[in-house]
């Protein structure tokens, strides 16, 4: 048994050809997968897809990057980071630029690889840049726990971990976010469970569908969402049950609860959202680079004219920014939404048709 995706798409186009609505995804990997599959161009013209605050790189404040850069200049200190963070502009430049100027910045695939780096280089201080949402936080918690178990005095993390729910609430509370349905992040749901999204239809009457990332899964999620909207429903539907259970990964959530503690966090575009971040729990404070190196907080300064904040909220499209494709390109990004290939601006830059698609 297999699906003829062309037939599915044709049917959706037929069924919802006249519909006018805005759907939002809040996951960078969704943004990217949708663009890569070319789904934008296949949707009926009245259906718009917005990209919300779901790329950890995009929502990280420039002050955090700046802290990392200033740390990276310490002699004997090595920054370990996920690759996509390297090109994010801070206030004074990116980590890639700091590296070009001599700072030691190593790209790792997994947080535990940064712990291994610390074991291999006992004379260096390794600081891992801990960015991510609930999906990534457990992997980082495992790394911190492993470092603690090994008694490593030369490993720490610079936390900028985020939790989705408070941010979604803050977004929706204002009423400024006008969307008709939400494509909920599939992999985050693996940890939180589908139940983690239940507040959206329940409290905000937002039709919400959890989906995966393959083209068929995305079309499935969109179809389900459009159907709800058409029917005037607002339910939580889990269209990715192969991976997302009702309650999610309990072991992961327990580990997070043991290693991390909620703290306020700054989101680019949203400002500071109370309880939306994860710091280290008291027992693991020795592994917090902010304490260990006495780092002062650095205020974020968004580049002049950059509209990333509004774009993350679905209040503006990248093309409405005066810098888009002028001063700001993936080559020379001004704002963070242009940095990651999943940032809304980069996605628009790369995947727009020159013939017109926005």
């Amino acid at each position: 048994m297999s699906i003829d995706l062309q037939e599915v798409i044709a049917r959706i186009r037929a069924d919802y050809g006249a519909m006018r609505c805005k759907l939002m995804e809040v996951c960078g990997t969704h943004t990217n997968a949708i663009r890569r599959a070319g789904i934008h161009r296949q949707l009926p013209a009245g259906i718009r897809l917005l990209s919300g605050p779901g790329c950890p790189v995009c929502v990280t404040g420039s002050g955090y990057i700046e802290q990392a850069i200033s740390l990276s200049r310490e002699p004997g200190l090595v920054i370990a980071s996920f690759g996509d963070l390297l090109r994010v502009p801070g206030n004074s430049g990116s980590l890639a630029e700091a590296r070009a100027a001599g700072a030691k910045v190593r790209v790792v695939y997994a947080p535990q690889d940064a712990v291994a780096l610390a074991e291999q280089h006992p004379d260096a201080q390794i600081v891992f840049l801990a960015v991510g949402f609930e999906t990534t936080a457990p992997a980082i918690a495992l790394a911190v726990r492993a470092a603690a178990a090994a008694g490593l005095a030369n490993f720490s993390i610079l936390p900028s971990l985020k939790v989705l729910e408070p941010a979604m609430r803050s977004l929706l509370a204002g009423g400024g976010l006008q969307i008709d349905g939400l494509i909920a992040p599939g992999h985050l749901g693996v940890i939180t469970g589908a139940a983690g999204y239940a507040f959206l239809p329940r409290e905000y009457r937002l039709p919400t569908v959890v989906t995966g990332f393959r083209p068929a899964e995305l079309w499935l999620g969109i179809a389900a969402l459009l159907k709800q909207i058409a029917k005037g429903e607002s339910r939580l539907e889990n269209m990715y049950p192969q991976a997302v259970t009702e309650q999610g990964n309990l072991a992961a959530r327990e580990l997070m609860a043991a290693v991390f503690a909620p703290e306020d966090a700054e989101w680019r575009g949203l400002g500071t959202v109370s309880g939306s971040g994860l710091g280290l729990a008291q027992a693991y404070r020795d592994y917090d680079a902010r304490c260990k190196f006495g780092l002062a907080e650095i205020a974020s300064r968004e580049p002049a004219g950059c509209r990333c904040g509004e774009i993350l909220l679905g209040r503006a499209e990248p093309e409405e920014c005066p810098h888009f494709d002028a001063a700001c390109t993936p080559e020379h990004p001004v704002g963070p939404c242009m940095v990651s290939a999943e940032g809304s601006c980069a996605a628009h830059f790369y995947y727009r048709s020159r013939g017109g698609e926005g």
Binding site: I39, F82, A101, V107, Y109, A110, P215, T329, S340
Partner: protein, 336 residues
């Protein structure tokens, strides 16, 4: 020009192109340099000569399926081949870091010799420099090739025309994936191998056999197929549309790129070529390629279109369409 050189400016994408434009094209005005092909073509009394140079700095220098020595020979033979040129001779200049193992150097020399023999080309001049410990990353090799172009042969990135077909000689991304696999810091392993190989014996006979029908020959190295097609689309003032389903990619390469969030179209190839050919000759050329071992997985992957000059796009397996932009430098593994 202000600021400092970034790694991305050596990645072969837009950053490299704009660095080269600003730095060199503004000062060196030779028409061959400005053309941006794999090799320069020089006219002289005895006919046309192709001249090409490349610095090889691959890290690690040894990788599954090859090493920097094989790469340096194959890379230069291939750049000559892409101009339809038969090598007259190659040169190699070595920059070696103090403390490099002599036995490793021997292995590199041996694999250069083996690659040269495989291609049937000669190394005719060389140079060896040693720099202090810490002032190079083990070994760098710059190879330069000079070749002769037979009368009547005319190839170039500027010659693609609407209606032409785009062929590739085999699976894409193998070299780039093998290098990522070889980088210890990513903790990957597997049987995946670089495709590094000289292509002159595969392609030069075809160039002779289909005069005029083969418009463009390119080796999609740094920056991969995506970058190379963008260059051709710009040089020829055409659009190019690929069909995702037709592009041959090994499962291991697919697995690795999915794991790291990369795109095989941007990974380097060192033993593949792409051909832009006249539509009427496409099937014959494809069949001829497939008869050779190095071309057994050749495929027609797209076509050249009029309008939208410079645009490369791809029709996805699910029928969508997306732009394939010029890459932007360093391929960084992504978490998200």
């Amino acid at each position: 020009m202000n600021g400092k050189i970034r790694l991305a400016e050596g990645g072969g994408g837009e950053a490299t192109a704009s660095l080269i434009r600003e730095l060199f094209w503004s000062r060196f005005r030779h028409p061959q340099l400005l053309r941006g092909n794999d090799a320069a073509v020089l006219e002289h009394a005895g006919g046309r000569l192709a001249l090409t140079t490349d610095a090889f700095v691959v890290t690690p220098w040894r990788f599954p399926g090859g090493d920097i020595g094989r790469l340096a020979i194959a890379g230069t033979v291939n750049d000559l081949t892409m101009m339809g040129a038969a090598a007259l001779g190659l040169t190699a200049a070595f920059i070696i870091e103090e403390g490099f193992d002599k036995s490793d150097l021997e292995q590199i020399a041996a694999s250069m010799a083996a690659a040269a023999a495989e291609a049937g080309v000669d190394l005719v001049a060389g140079d060896t420099k040693v720099v202090r410990k810490g002032e190079a990353d083990g070994i760098f090799i710059t190879t330069t090739g000079v070749g002769t172009i037979a009368p009547g042969v005319r190839l170039g990135g500027e010659l693609a025309r609407p209606g032409d077909r785009v062929l590739v000689t085999g699976t894409l991304g193998d070299h780039g994936a093998a290098i990522l696999l070889a980088r210890e810091e990513l903790g990957l392993s597997g049987a995946l191998q670089s495709d590094v190989a000289p292509l002159n014996r595969l392609l030069l006979p075809l160039v002779g056999e289909y005069p005029g029908a083969i418009r463009v020959l390119r080796d999609p190295t740094r920056g991969g197929l995506a970058t190379t097609l963008n260059e051709i689309a710009r040089q020829s003032g055409v659009a190019i549309r690929l069909r995702e389903a037709a592009i041959p990619v090994r499962p291991e390469v697919r697995g690795l790129t999915e794991l790291l969030g990369l795109d095989p179209l941007y990974l380097a190839n060192e033993g593949k070529a792409l051909l832009v050919v006249a539509p009427e000759a496409a099937d014959a050329i494809l069949a001829a390629l497939r008869r050779q071992p190095r071309g057994s997985r050749a495929a027609e992957v797209g076509e050249v279109l009029a309008g939208n000059a410079g645009l490369v796009s791809l029709v996805t397996a699910s029928g969508g369409e997306r732009i394939i932009p010029l890459g932007s430098g360093e391929q960084l593994p992504r978490i998200c």
